[in-house]
Amino acid sequence: MLFTDPVFLFAFLPASLVLYLLARRTFGGRAAILVLLACSIFFYGYWSVKYLSLLLGQILVNYLFARKLTRSQSRALLWTAIAVNLALLGYFKYRNFFLENVGLLTGWQLHLSLLFVPLGISFHTFQQITFLTDVADGEEDVPPLPQFMLFVIFFPQLIAGPIVLHREMGRQLTEVVAGKESTAGTFGPGFALFCFGLFKKVCLADNIAPFVDTAFQWPLHLQFIEAWAAAIGYALQLFFDFSGYSDMAVGLGLMFGFLLPFNFNVPFAATSMTEYWKRWHITMTRFFTMYCYTPLALAAHRVVDERGYSRIRAFALCIAVPTMITFLASGLWHGAGWTFIVFGLVNGLGLLINHAWREAKMPHLPRVLAWALTMVTILVTLVYFRSDSLAQAHSILRSMFMPEHILLPLWADALAAKIGVSVGFFEVFQAANFTAHFMLLIVLFAPLAVLLPNPAMKPKKTSPSLPLAFAVAGMIWLTLGLLGQPRTFLYFQF
C-alpha cells in the first residue's frame, strides 16, 4: 500500500485516524497506542504477511537485547546485537551481490535464487540499531514493548524513513500514554504538509519520470544534450519523489500528533558537498555521522594525538579515512551493486576535496561557481545512482563530459544555423514535442527544487488561512486528477 494508493488515501488513512482518535478519547492513551500499532502492523502485512512475521521477530529479538543491555551495558552484547541486525540486512540485501562477485572472482558457477528484499529493511534495521546503541550508552531507557514496537513500525516512517531516534519518538509516545499529547494543534499542519508531499510526488516527480526513464533506457545512444537532460531530470525526479515521501511521512505523523524529523532542507541550493549532505536525506546523514563517522574520527584523533602525526597524515587519518568509509557504507546501504558503491565513493571524494580545500585555507570560490561545481558533482553521483550498471553510467557520463561532437536534433535545424552548431540524428530527442515537454518540465521544476523552502522544517508554524485553503485545494484537485497510475516511490527499494 503506497501513500498514493487510493486504498491508503480513502480507506486506510481515514479509518486508522478515526480508530486512533476514538480509542484515545474513549479508552485513553494506552489503547490508542495499541490501535496505532495494530494499524501499522496491518499496513505492513497488507504488503506481505510473510515478511511481517520477520519484522515482528526482529523487533522482539531487539527488544530482548535492549532489556539485557540495560542491565549489563556490555559492549560485546551490543556488538552481537548489531551483528545480528546487520546479518539479517546482509542476508536479504547483499547475499546475492556478494556471491555473484565471489563467483566472478573464482569462476564458480553459482545458481542464485532471487531474493525478495523486505520493504524498508534498511530503514527499520538502522532505527533499531540506533536504539540499541543508545540503550547500551545509557542514554535511553527501554520502554514497554508496545511503545517500542510502535517506535519501529509506526507506518508513516516504516518503509522509507525518516530514520527516527528513540529520543525523538519515545517521549512523545510516553506523553500519549499519559494522556498529555493531543492532535488538536497538529492535525491541520499535518494535513497541509501531507497534501504538499502528495503533490510533489504525483504531480512533479511522476510527471518527469517517463522522460527520465526513456533517456536512461538508451545510454549508448544519448547525445551531449540528452545526457545532461537525463541527469538533471533524474536529480529533479529523485528529489521530488523522496522529499515528497518525507513530507507525507512528517505530515502523517503530525496528523496523529507526532513530530517526526524532516529529511530535506533545499539540498539543491547547497554550495558545497558538505552543505549538500547536511541538506539531503538529513536523518540518514545523521545516522552515519553519529554511528559511523564520529566514532571513527574520534578514534583516529586519539591515535594522531598520541603519535603526533604531521598535518597531512592527520588529515588523512582523521578526515579522509572516516569520510571514505562512511560514504562507502552509505553507498552500500542504498543498494547492493557496484553503481551504489561508486556513488558513495564519488560523494566521499567530493567531500574530501571540500575538506582539503578548507584545510589548505584556499580562497572562497564565488558563490555561483561553488554552486555549479557542487551540482555537477551531485549529477555525476546521481548518474551512478540511477544506472543499472557501471557501463551504463560511464556511457552517459562520456556523453556528458567527452562528447564526440555537440549537435542539435534535426528538427532544430533553424536554431542550429543561427548559433552555428551542426545538426544530427537524435534517437531520444528525435521527436520535437517529447523534447519540448521534457525541457519545459526541467525549466519549471528546477527553480522549485532550488528555491522552495521545505515546510516540513517548521510544520507547526503553518497557520490556517484562506490562501492556504486555496493552495491546499488546488494541490488536492491536481493530485486527484493524476492519481490514476501511481508509480512506486524510488526510495522503497533501499
Binding site: 492535525f187 491541520g188 545512444h221 520535437a432 490556517p464 485545494a473 497510475q485
Partner: protein, 352 residues
Amino acid sequence: MRSWFKFFAWQLPLALIVIELGVELVGFGLSGVTLHRHNVDDLAYSVAHDRHPYKVVLLGDSITHNVAHKYRIGDVDEVADLTTHAFAGLPSSLFLLKRYLESGHRPSHVVIAASRDVFTQPIDKGNFDYYVATTFTRPYEREFLGKYYPGYVDYRWKPAALSVTTKVGEPLFSLLRHPGDQIWIGPDLPSKSPVLDQFPNDRIDQAVVDQKIAQQLSLTPEAREILMRMCSLSRQYGFKLHVIFAPLPPSVHATLAQQGKLTALNNSVKQVFEAAGADVTLDDASDQESYLSFDRDLIHIKGLGWEQKFAVQLADYIHGYDDGSSGRFDGEDLARPNVSTHAIQSISMMSR
C-alpha cells in the same frame, strides 16, 4: 485550534468548490475547441475535413508514419496517410478509417502497414488517455473502448478540476495551433535507388534482441475485433483491405520464422479474415527486401536511405493492387484550401 476548525469547516471546502466551479466554467467555455495536441488529434480532425478523393488509405504505426511523413507514397494525391503510432494503436486506425468513410470518402483500397507489435501487444496504458480516450469520443468509439479497455472512462464526465490538463490546458494550447484541414502528404519523392546509410558506430543491444525474439506473437482480442470490424467496413463501403507487416532486422526475422511464430501469426490473421468472409492480402515487407538499419529498439527503420527504400516498397505494393478503380468523395464538396506546404511542414514537424 479554533482557526483550524474554521479552516476545515468552511475555508477548505469553499476553496475546493470555488476551484472546481472556476475550472468547470473555463472548461465549459473551451469545450467546443477541437484538440490539436498531436498528430492523432490532427488526423481525427482532417479526415473529416479533407475532401480530396484519395484512392488508397494508408493506416499503420510509427514505422510507416516516419516514412510517409517524409516521403510521398504513390502518385500525387493517391494515398491518404492516416498512419499514427503504437501509443494510439490499432483502435486509432479503426476510428480514423471509420470517420474518414463516414465523411463521404470511398477509397478503393485500405492498407494497414505496421509492425507486428500493434497486433500482438496491448496498448500502453500510460498514454491511452492522451492518444486514444480523449481524442476519440464518438458513440461508436466509446462503445468499442468501453468494451475492450477496462478502466476506460469518458473524460467528458469527469469533474473539470480533476482533468484540468485535458479540459483547460490542452484546449488553450490547441487554440494556438491549427494544422489545417488537409491530410498531411510527405513532401519529398523517395529515390528509387537511395543511398543506404551506414552507421558503423551503432551497437546492437543484445537485451533488445533477446526481448524481441522471446516476445509472444499472438493476436490480442482487441486486434482481432478491430480486424473483424475493418472487414465489415470493407463490405459496407466496398474497398479492399491489405495488411503489410513492417520490416524486421534479418536476424530477428529469421529466428522468429524458425520458431514458427511468424507463420502462426499469419495464420491467426488469415483465420480472422476468413471468418469475416473478406478477401484480404497479407504481405511481409521483409520477405521481398532486406533492411539492415534500425533504431536502438530494433523496430524503427533508421536512416533516410532505408526509409526511402521502404517508401518505394510501399508504393510498389500499392501499385500492385491497382485494378483500375479510383477513389471517390461523395460528401459535401469544398474547394481544397491552398495551404502553404512550408507552413504545414513546420507545424507537422513540431507535432511529431
